[in-house]
């Protein structure tokens, strides 16, 4: 279980616990670096229409669904 928090201009706008995390796309080393591509999603296939795809090199893709 992970908790994901997103703030804009110091104000929390999104806060959610997620049960499944794809550790193969950036946070497997528990060092979530800006240069890595990370996709967090609800267990659906990464490369599917219903999932979230990492498509662009060296640019982060973040996604959380529930």
């Amino acid at each position: 279980m992970f908790r994901v928090v997103f703030d804009r201009d110091g104000r929390n706008v999104f806060d959610m616990n997620v049960g499944e995390t794809d550790i193969n796309q950036g946070i497997s080393d528990l060092a979530f670096e800006a240069t890595e591509t990370a996709v967090i999603y609800d267990g659906s296939e990464q490369y599917s229409f219903s999932g979230v795809a990492a498509c662009v090199a060296d640019r982060n893709t973040y996604a959380v669904t529930k």
Partner: protein, 190 residues
Amino acid sequence: MRSSFRMSAMRSSFRIFEGKSGEMIGRVMRTGEEEISKLSFSHNEAVWFRDKIPEDGSKYRAELWVPEEGGEFEAVILDAFNVQGVSFAYDGEFLTTFDLSKYPDLINYCPVYLFDKDGVLADVVGKYSLISHSVTFRGNRSAYFPCLVYITTGGKGFLSVPIIGDQSYAQQLTGSREVTVRYFEEGEDV
């Protein structure tokens, strides 16, 4: 409905915590110049980010979120490439190839979809080839344009994705939730 189209400085922070211990295991902070901020949109209303690639060489990003639990929704960010497909016969069937060499940041095998004025072909997906810098679909698909599609669906959700295409927009495909959409020029990660 409220919207803003002025440029303004912004800062975003994305953090991940381990659920049990509360330990922060990842953090990205970013600054940028916000170009579009739309605080709500209704079912099927598209929020357009751009209709051509900016010539300033900057990197752009779109963020979309539904912060509270509620009715089921599906929201999409579509990033489309203004590229004409070339159809040809091969081994008894038609194929259509789109040259995407103009977009060098694409990842090998990333999923590419097709769209036209009626929307995205949901059951047709191609895999981008970094060797040929192109994507090929079965059939004559020259009437369509290739695109990247990012979706969040459920009771609440969040997306933050890079925008690299010529034409890009966000749209709530199902549901009637209030969705926040922002498009901005990326600054430095801090």
